[in-house]
């Protein structure tokens, strides 16, 4: 007889139940979602068979939002409300955007920003749907991918691994995580893009040894050097440029076309936003065409009727953009030096990112490493595929690939010291997670607070590094100058995100930390955004509440009106005036312009009127009882 199996309390009855987890490559140009199905990492397609989702978000006149190809199709006709390459603005502020003149968006200053001072330093883009932060725009892309995944996998996701450029700093990482949260995704891990690519490549090819991942995407460049051995992927060094990518190549072509237009016409009219977008699109198409062809023709008609018809040769394109390719080699050299390696130590170079399709990029990589780069995985998909493998492992699905990723912090963390200098606390390329403590002391007798400024970057001056946070340590016990010992601990977790704690060690008082992040979103802002995404539902609820309050108020007014007519004589003039005043106040509230507070105001006035008429009601009750009793004996009293 078969015995019934009963599981341990609290444990799943179905231990092999597959948890749905995805890897998301949130790219500058395109985004993808992948998952592990029957042991194979696969990119999920939309209903039209597209794997790549263009990272473009369009805010429609009717309040709707479209993402991807549909948004891309309207890019030239509605450039201001169609946001592309938003990743470049993640965690950045206005002064970080150097070439604003050539970006067809309306950037908002903090003063124009309705959200208030909280995000004073954050960049926002003005659209017809209001001011949108890069976090909100990215969240739209993530939502679309989440829907795609849940539709395709037939269930709710347990979580997602989201990839970020290895060279993203704390602010950019935090912004990415905020976007995922806003999209309703449970972030299992932020994973560095080159590391994700290494996972996909390494597992696919059973690679062992030291590999270089050269990742030139749409807007970011990363170089990572990894040691692969028995399922362990150890990052030895990483470097890059978080503002260098395929977009810059498009931009060079765009500028070249502008020069050509100027040469051919005596009266050059400045381009509008639509023309800028149109020419950038044409530039991108020309760049892609030149991968397999010797020349590209760029033909289009501008808004003012000017016909553009120019031909760009591959040689000209190389000349225009060679400096961008060269620019990738400096971080490459730095990473090699940090890892203490020479070209001979490198077993293979893997190319990642659509921009590595350009022949002169490939050529430069080959020259530098003295070997032909590996391209057997689709450079557009390899990051998402690797992220999916990691997501599968993190979600707790059993996997034959028991892999472990040991990643590093890309940029040093430091503190502001006297004279606007930065003292490094955690050096770049330290393996994560990492914690470092630093002791501080007071400068004046009886000092009870101190200010600490955390920065990220390699430069020596505060002004050259990125300000991550300003902390105020309060509640330090008053002591003579130099006697207090404040131990501040900086922790960077596996996502590459920083947290700080502090303690006064001589008295063991835990100092109260006031965290004032100079980047990213405050908790409050995220909550506000989450609420406004439920905005429509909230408005419905308010409208209903208002209607109900009005009905209640009007019926009370009517009842009191009747009562005054019938039994007004029961009240003296003063009492009558008081009730009339309350009635008028309630009427005013009902007739006031509706606002979110209207319902509450009406309810309050209704209650006030109710309270003011309590005595009147009691007297009427007495009067009606006495009139009913008058002239009746007890035998006929109806109970």
């Amino acid at each position: 007889m078969a015995l019934l199996q009963i599981s341990e309390p609290g444990q799943y009855a179905a231990p092999h139940q597959h948890k749905l987890a995805v890897g998301i490559d949130l790219g500058t140009t395109n985004s993808l979602v992948a998952t592990v199905r029957s042991g194979m990492s696969t990119v999920l397609q939309d209903e039209h068979g597209h794997a790549l989702l263009p990272s473009i978000v369009r805010y429609l006149p009717d309040g709707g939002v479209v993402v991807g190809h549909e948004a891309q199709a309207q890019q030239s006709s509605d450039p201001v409300n169609t946001i592309a390459s938003v990743k470049r603005f993640m965690g950045r502020n206005l002064k970080d955007i150097v070439d604003r003149a050539h970006i067809p968006y309306r950037f908002a200053d903090s003063t124009e920003n309705a959200a208030g001072a909280q995000s004073a330093r954050l960049l926002q883009i003005q659209t017809r749907a209001g001011f949108k932060s890069p976090v909100e725009i990215s969240a739209e892309i993530l939502k679309t991918l989440k829907v795609r995944a849940e539709k395709s996998l037939g269930g709710e996701l347990v979580g997602a691994v989201i990839t970020v450029p290895a060279y993203f700093d704390d602010a950019q990482r935090q912004a990415t995580k905020d976007a995922a949260r806003l999209a309703g995704l449970n972030v299992l891990r932020l994973l560095n893009e080159p590391t994700a690519a290494a996972v996909a490549y390494g597992l696919d090819n059973a690679a062992e040894g030291t590999y270089v991942i050269y990742d030139l995407g749409g807007g970011t460049f990363d170089i990572s050097i990894l040691k692969l051995a028995k399922g362990v992927f150890e990052v030895l060094a990483t470097n890059g440029d978080s503002a260098l990518g395929g977009d810059d190549f498009d931009h060079r072509i765009y500028c070249w076309v502008l020069d050509k237009i100027r040469e051919n016409s005596s009266t050059f009219v400045p381009l509008g936003e639509q023309d800028t977008r149109l020419l950038l699109t044409k530039a991108r198409q020309a760049k892609e065409w030149l991968t397999d062809n010797f020349e590209a023709q760029i033909v289009c008609r501008l808004g003012n009727g000017t016909l553009v018809d120019v031909t760009l040769t591959a040689a000209e394109f190389v000349e225009l953009t060679q400096h961008l390719v060269t620019k990738t080699l400096s971080p490459t050299r730095k990473a090699m030096r940090d890892a203490n390696l020479t070209q001979e130590d490198i077993k293979g170079v893997v190319l990642v990112g659509g921009a590595t399709r350009m022949p002169h990029v490939r050529h430069a990589v080959q020259e530098f490493f003295k070997q032909e780069p590996l391209t057997n995985l689709d450079p557009d998909k390899v990051v998402a595929l690797g992220a999916a493998i990691q997501a599968n492992v993190l979600a707790g699905n059993r996997s034959e690939n028991d892999l472990l990723l040991l990643d590093v912090i890309p940029l040093s963390l430091g503190l502001e010291t006297m004279g606007g200098l930065v003292e490094k606390i955690i050096p770049r390329n330290s393996t994560l997670p990492i914690a470092r403590a630093q002791e501080f002391t007071t400068f004046k007798d009886g000092q009870t607070a101190m200010r600490i400024h955390v920065l990220q970057g390699e430069r020596e001056l505060v002004s050259d590094c990125r300000s991550l946070a300003r902390f105020e340590l309060r509640g330090i016990p008053p002591m003579v100058a130099g006697a207090a010992r404040i131990r501040v601990t900086f922790t960077v977790d596996a996502d590459g995100l920083l947290s700080v704690s502090a303690r006064e060690t001589t008295s063991n008082v835990e100092a109260n930390i006031v965290v004032k992040p100079s980047y990213g979103l405050s908790e409050e802002e995220i909550l506000n955004m989450l609420q406004s995404s439920f905005g429509a539902a909230e408005q419905d609820k308010q409208a209903r509440a208002l209607a109900e309050a009005k009905v209640d108020a009007e019926s009370l007014l009517a009842a009191i009106g009747v009562a005054l007519e019938q039994d007004g004589h029961l009240l003296n003039t003063k009492e009558k005036q008081k009730i009339t005043a309350k009635m008028n106040a309630l009427k005013a509230d009902i007739n006031a312009a509706p606002s979110p507070a209207s319902a509450d105001a009406i309810r309050e006035a209704t209650e006030a009127l109710n309270a003011a008429t309590e005595n009147f009601a009691a007297r009427r009750m007495d009067a009606s009882i006495s009139s009913a009793l008058a002239g009746k004996n007890l035998d006929h009293l109806e109970i």
Binding site: R333, L394, A395, L406, S430, P433, A435, T491, A494
Partner: protein, 173 residues
């Protein structure tokens, strides 16, 4: 906290370490304790994992690098090799220090990457000799005074190497 870094990796407290054993033991600890293994675990376990993984990283970095390994071995003997009171350096080494610094400054102002590279090679050879000495002083002779001096020299050489690399970086940009 009673466990020292060597005990953590099940190694004898020696300067002459088998780095491949160090690496494989480090990886073993990380594959068991890394936060990636505890993504869906309850908070206390997550915290524990974070702490163990952080300690393993710190310990591994300390023992992997020869100068910090020597410094740590001396710490276990109660000696702070880089204490401010501990400034004694033999005159010949001081002379050599000045030489290296001068060469570095010259090559830097001439933007001579080749000279910087050869200086780097020279420093690395010097470091190698010091490492051999340190094995002898620390593991065999237990001559901690000599080991302290050699450690200080090694730390100094590392600083110069870092400066050379920085100079190369600046010229390349």
């Amino acid at each position: 906290m009673t466990q020292n870094y060597f005990e953590l990796f099940e190694l004898k407290p020696l300067f002459d370490l088998d780095l491949t054993v160090l690496e494989s033991n480090y990886r073993k600890i990380q594959s068991e304790s890394h936060p990636d293994r505890f993504v869906t675990a309850p908070a206390p376990e997550k915290l524990q994992s974070m702490q163990t993984a952080t300690l393993a990283n710190e310990a591994y970095q300390t023992l992997k690098n020869s100068a910090s390994r020597a410094k740590y071995l001396l710490e276990l003997q109660g000696i702070n090799a880089i204490a401010e009171t501990n400034t004694a350096m033999p005159p010949d080494f001081l002379m050599q220090q000045m030489d290296w610094r001068e060469n570095l400054e010259d090559a830097k102002s001439e933007k001579n990457i080749k000279a910087l590279d050869s200086l780097l090679t020279e420093m690395r050879a010097e470091a190698k000799m010091l490492q051999t000495d340190l094995g002898d002083f620390l593991d065999t002779k237990k001559n901690y005074a000599a080991a302290t001096e050699a450690t200080r020299k090694l730390i100094f050489i590392e600083k110069v190497c870092a400066d050379i690399n920085k100079a190369i970086e600046q010229i390349e940009n």
